[in-house]
């Protein structure tokens, strides 16, 4: 009898312990809005696949339901999704199709879309999802996300300052970086630099299986948690540089730099995200 109750207590302890650990794990790694396409430097125009997933790119320990709200079970749809090529803006919201995306530990509601990147030059894709309710923090997160693809190698729009509420304006073409090269950007809010902005950097550590909408095996292991989400800061002019040690996709998220600070009466972190691709040198 005594033995039984002891076992009971210890299993309860273990449960509480693992729940705490799960809580810590979720809190420790950064949320990143993914705006993924397999190749950002296209030799010629073509229709590309895009996946819009709210996830943790390095650890892949939780895939969020995009547009989750605290006061409703219904997910809120994407606020804005468009592309700019040679200064011309085209709305892409109608191209988004709801999907279930499967990570290593769970599945989440995400989107898939296709885009005909026909014309030469840069195509700046901007995704503004609805704020997401993060229950652990009782707060909302909205990541205004930029991915830039290029057709044929002529630069046209990549360095444009779009005056977004939260934005990282690149000073390096995000699609033309060798592995081992560096990326420089300026954190801005409505065109104004944000001094000493806090930036989280993560490597997309998994294959994205476009066909089956799921992640594959991880590429590298972090020696310690500080390498999973790397925290850096912009300088007094909002500028930062980061060296990309490995080919693949790197996400940069400048936290809480947007104008909007509350949503539905709760705290809102309006972040600026940009995705950068380093190409292997071979």
């Amino acid at each position: 009898m005594l033995q039984k109750s002891m076992i009971k207590i210890s299993s309860k302890k273990i449960l509480v312990g693992s729940a705490l650990l799960a809580g810590l794990t979720t809190g420790a790694f950064a949320h990143f809005q993914l705006l993924y396409t397999p190749d950002t430097a296209l030799s010629k125009g073509k229709t590309i696949e895009l996946r819009e997933v709210f996830t943790h790119p390095f650890a892949d320990e939780h895939t969020m339901d995009m547009g989750k709200q605290h006061d409703s079970k219904e997910l809120k749809s994407v606020e804005e999704f468009y592309v700019i090529n040679k200064g011309k803006k085209t709305d892409l919201k109608s191209t988004l199709k709801g999907i279930t995306f499967t990570g290593q530990h769970n599945s989440g509601k995400a989107y898939a879309s296709q885009y005909k990147a026909q014309r030469m030059g840069d195509h700046i894709l901007i995704l503004q999802p609805a704020p997401y309710y993060e229950a652990n923090e009782d707060a909302y997160i909205q990541q205004i996300t930029k991915s830039i693809i290029n057709v044929a190698g002529t630069p046209t729009d990549w360095d444009s300052d779009l005056g977004l509420k939260a934005e990282i304006v690149p000073l390096t073409k995000p699609y033309a970086i060798w592995e081992g090269g560096s990326f420089t950007g300026i954190v801005k809010s409505k065109g104004k630099p944000v001094p000493y902005a806090e930036i989280e950097v993560e490597y997309l550590n998994r294959d994205i299986d476009i066909k089956n909408n799921k992640t594959g095996k991880s590429y590298v292991e972090a020696p310690q948690d500080a390498f999973v989400t790397m925290g850096i800061k912009a300088d007094k002019d909002g500028e930062f540089t980061f060296t990309l040690p490995r080919a693949g996709f790197w996400g940069f998220a400048a936290l809480g730099v947007g104008n909007d600070k509350t949503y539905k009466g709760k705290e809102l972190s309006q972040d600026a995200v940009i995705w950068v691709e380093a190409k292997p040198m071979r």
Binding site: G45, K46, K86, M120, A152, G153, T154, P155
Partner: protein, 99 residues
């Protein structure tokens, strides 16, 4: 003499520092659009463009203000040529032009 030398250096620099680029696509209505440009982002407006078929020019024009040209799709194989001077011409084969 010094001025001339400097001028030459500058000219050389600007000519060789960038690459001519052209990309073409089929509009699906029996016309083809070719866009021209340079790796430094400069405009291709006014650059000579022509279409070769069996070694003969069947269309000739200049790149518009928007650095592009649209022409009727020739039957069979052809080649689109962006001719921005010596060492700067780009040839795109019809087999590489898709919708």
């Amino acid at each position: 003499m010094k001025k001339v030398l400097l001028g030459l250096i500058f000219l050389t620099g600007s000519v060789f520092a960038h690459t001519a680029i052209m990309s073409c696509f089929d509009n699906g209505d029996n016309t083809i659009t070719c866009e021209g440009g340079f790796s430094d982002g400069s405009s291709a407006s006014g650059v000579i463009f022509y279409v070769l078929k069996d070694g003969k020019k069947v269309f000739e024009s200049k790149m518009t203000e928007d650095s592009e040209v649209t022409f009727d799709k020739p039957e069979g194989d052809y080649e689109a040529v962006f001719s921005a001077g010596e060492g700067h011409s780009v040839h795109v084969k019809s087999s590489d032009i898709t919708e």
